[in-house]
């Protein structure tokens, strides 16, 4: 069963909207993930940390792509960062890291967003 939690770390008036995804990104959680994260998009840059995600499936990968595309269409700068090894490896193996503007550390991503 895919259980996903979207944790919001900052308030709307901060310079970067920081979000932490936790749990499993799979077919059961991906649809909710997309709608929740997309609903959180304002005109602020957004940093989505994957540090608490411990699993990603094909549907989860698609969810990240949908979020990245939605941000692009809205003109919002968005970076993903801090993936756990399994999630990082999957995204790396299938060559998706460049597509979602992934950065290894939150600091690196933040520096680009500011």
């Amino acid at each position: 069963m895919g259980v996903l939690c979207v944790e919001i770390l900052t308030e709307r008036d901060d310079s970067i909207r920081k979000i932490v995804l936790s749990g499993r990104l799979d077919t059961e959680s991906s649809q909710e993930l997309c709608s929740r994260v997309c609903n959180l998009m304002t005109d602020q840059p957004m940093l989505v940390s994957l540090k608490k995600c411990n699993y990603i499936s094909s549907a989860g990968v698609r969810a990240l792509l949908v979020i990245a595309r939605e941000a692009k269409e809205k003109g919002i700068k968005l970076r993903f960062s801090d993936a756990q090894p399994m999630v990082y490896d999957v995204l790396d193996m299938i060559g998706f890291l460049p597509l979602i503007e992934y950065r290894d550390t939150a600091a690196e991503a933040e520096a680009e967003l500011l």
């Binding site: 077919t27 499936s57 094909s58 999957v90 790396d92 193996m93 299938i94 060559g95 998706f96």
Partner: protein, 691 residues
């Protein structure tokens, strides 16, 4: 919302409704998954559902009688988690294979061999299972490349063998991702297409045996389990069932670097073998449809692999066309090379057909219109159709005559000068341009099946003992020459000669009219230690040894320069816009210009190509001269005269050990001859010197 997408029945607690009859295979639909399968012989069909990796199914759902139209069963099952789902079918026949869970012939993902070389459990009752695929992908605007076929320079490679060796230094050795890391290398080399040995799901343990404690694999993969599914074991991400995404990314990035993707496909037989082979899918679903059978129901073996697909049965034809269309539309591949393609032209009783419907359909299919179609124009049943393959003006062929004639001539055999001249100039004696067009001939000297180019000049005999068949496997007709010593040597003279012969072959291949194909690794002298049939060698014997790239840097540089040279002279690709006044587009010469020696003992050939090319922003006359001296003595070559505004430059002289390709070529004075060394090749190009 569609009104016909709601459940209509409940079976075993599952909400169901009739599925999509026009489809085959599994497809995600709103709220559920449609499962559709054909059988003309099954009395009934049951859908079998498993959670991933579970031995026992969690659901058996019989197709109600009303869920069958004609010979197609179709059912939508709602509320399934497609990512934790494997499926198959039970079919009830009068005859064999009752109670066996069968793989969907149209399965787009297949689990069971997710990690290369990981042995399945011995008693696994359903070792290959269908999985449901999501076909969507972030293509970033990619589509199959539309560059002209004349520009093809094909590089034949094995996905695993290409980067499995530690010397490849890639992060994901032996995988699609590993190959992706080598794209900059391929781009630097200059090839324009990569032809991948089979990547349809196959079983690397097929025909497995151990001899002297050494495991042997079905390494090449010419034994398909599922035609629609990519080989999961070739994906670093196969254990996560993401092989589809990994392969699509590879195709996309190859395209972004101007490299087409051609798949070596095996439709002539399947992994199910003959009467003694396993029942995986087709046998149990409808063997009379899928296989050519003798009148008493046994398997014809035109493939040499136990069975023969019934390619011209209308249902099988449909499946093959659907498969090719799927790989074009969903994976954006650019073409196919058909293994033992002559089988695709056999009728349902096995006889060769004059106008095979399958081949005709492929030639005229709208989605395949721009696809490269390459035939290996023979089969194991004795049909040899090089030059006579039913082509409809569309098909190209592996030109086995080119391989054999060039091999024999370049090692010094006599009696071949006229044939070799024909091969170099487009094999028009075999492929009439009026019917076959400009690109019918795929020219090659080596391919996966046989010696590598380095071994071609290092071994007189095959050395296949490591295959475990007492050296009885593999061809004995290699037309090779060891240059004086069998195998590895430290003799500097022999090594020099071998390097020269390798460069000779490359120089001729890349200046010949037709589509050149090289075997991966030949460009840096890769060896298989004399093994000419490495089909079972998942080992360092067959993996490319990238350390040779540094050792044989001169060979690599030569290949790279010759590929660039070919691209710079369009007439070699039959793409010249015109011919210089007073010159034929192709002319044959010998030691004397305009005098070709047709005698049986001649070993010296000159070929001049005349056309037009772009230089310094303007179109100019262009001439290329290829001189081959396959004799063991040097010969003085008189080159044909050029227009007064031009002079010859010697671009290639393979006698020059370190710099056989001259980046700053020397000019020949008008009327000056050139002393071409023993067993050497020269290439000259015209230089504009002004009026």
């Amino acid at each position: 919302m569609r009104i016909d997408m709601a459940p209509t029945d409940v079976c075993g607690g599952f909400r169901i409704r009739p599925g999509i009859f026009l489809d085959r295979g599994a497809r995600i639909v709103p709220g559920g998954i449609s499962f559709s399968v054909y059988s003309s012989t099954a009395k009934s069909c049951t859908l079998v559902l498993f959670h991933n990796g579970e031995r026992d199914p969690f659901a058996l759902i019989p197709y109600p009688e009303s869920y069958r139209i004609g010979n197609v069963f179709a059912m939508i099952v709602f509320d399934l988690n497609d990512e934790n789902l494997e499926y198959g079918f039970y079919m009830e026949h009068d005859g064999e294979h009752a109670g066996q869970c069968l793989l969907d012939p149209y399965a787009k993902l297949i689990s069971g061999r997710d990690v290369w070389g990981k042995l399945p459990e011995e008693d696994e009752p359903f070792p290959y299972r269908g999985r449901v695929a999501r076909d969507d992908f972030e293509w970033e605007g990619d589509c199959p490349l539309r560059t002209p076929a004349q520009e093809l320079i094909i590089y034949e490679a094995h996905v695993r063998g290409f980067t499995k060796h530690a010397s490849s230094k890639v992060k994901y050795p032996g995988t699609y991702a590993g190959l992706r890391e080598k794209i900059p290398y391929l781009k630097d080399l200059g090839i324009t297409a990569i032809e991948l040995l089979p990547i349809f799901e196959f079983d690397e343990f097929d025909g497995r045996k151990n001899a002297d404690g050494v495991p042997y694999f079905n390494y090449w993969g010419y034994s398909t389990v599922g035609f629609f599914a990519p080989k999961a074991g070739y994906a670093a991400s196969g254990k996560y069932s993401l092989q589809m995404e990994e392969l699509k990314t590879l195709v996309k990035l190859l395209h972004q670097n101007g490299i087409k993707v051609i798949l070596d496909v095996v439709f002539n037989h399947t992994a199910e073998g003959d009467e003694t082979g396993p029942c995986i899918s087709f046998k149990g679903i409808d063997k009379k449809t899928y296989y050519i059978l003798t009148p008493d129901g046994r398997y014809y073996n035109f493939s040499g692999c136990g069975n023969t697909m019934n390619c011209n049965h209308p249902v099988v034809r449909d499946m093959i066309i659907a498969c090719l269309r799927y790989w074009i539309a969903e994976y954006h591949v650019d073409g196919f090379r058909f293994d033992l393609a002559s089988i695709l032209g056999r009728s349902q009783d096995g006889a060769p057909m004059a106008n095979p419907p399958l081949l005709e359909m492929m030639a005229y299919d709208p989605l395949l219109k721009d696809a490269v179609l390459i035939a290996e124009a023979w089969d194991a049943g004795g049909l040899y159709q090089v030059g006579s393959f039913p082509s409809y003006g569309r098909w190209m062929e592996w030109n086995g005559r080119y391989r054999d004639d060039l091999r024999r001539f370049l090692r010094g055999e006599e009696g071949l000068a006229a044939s070799v001249a024909a091969r170099i100039t487009g094999s028009e004696d075999i492929y009439d341009r009026r019917w076959r067009g400009d690109v019918a001939s795929i020219n090659f000297i080596t391919c996966h099946d046989g010696f590598t180019l380095w071994d071609l000049y290092s071994y007189n005999e095959k050395h296949n003992a490591a295959n475990g068949w007492n050296d009885t496997d593999g061809s004995n007709d290699n037309f090779s020459w060891n240059c004086g010593q069998e195998g590895d040597t430290r003799d500097p003279e022999i090594l020099r000669l071998r390097r020269r012969l390798v460069k000779n072959a490359a120089a001729v291949l890349f200046t010949s009219v037709g589509i050149p194909m090289l075997l991966a690794g030949d460009e840096f002298g890769n060896s298989q230690q004399g093994n000419n049939n490495a089909y079972c060698q998942d080992s360092e014997l067959s993996w490319l040894d990238w350390s040779l790239l540094e050792k044989n840097r001169d060979i690599y540089a030569f290949f790279r320069h010759m590929i660039a040279f070919r691209k710079a002279h369009p007439m070699l690709q039959r793409m010249s816009k015109g011919v210089p006044a007073g010159y034929p587009p192709i002319s044959l010469h010998g030691t004397q210009a305009w005098h070709f020696d047709y005698s049986g003992c001649n070993r010296v050939i000159g070929v001049m190509f005349a056309g037009r090319c772009m230089a310094d922003g303007e179109e100019r006359d262009d001439f290329v001269y290829l001189g081959i001296n396959a004799h063991w003595e040097a010969h003085r070559i008189q080159l044909p005269g050029l227009p007064k505004t031009m002079q010859w430059q010697v671009v290639v002289d393979t006698m020059d050990e370190k710099h056989a390709f001259h980046e700053t070529p020397e000019s020949l004075k008008e009327g000056e001859s050139f002393l071409l060394g023993p067993r050497a090749v020269m290439v000259c190009a015209s230089q504009f010197v002004g009026s």
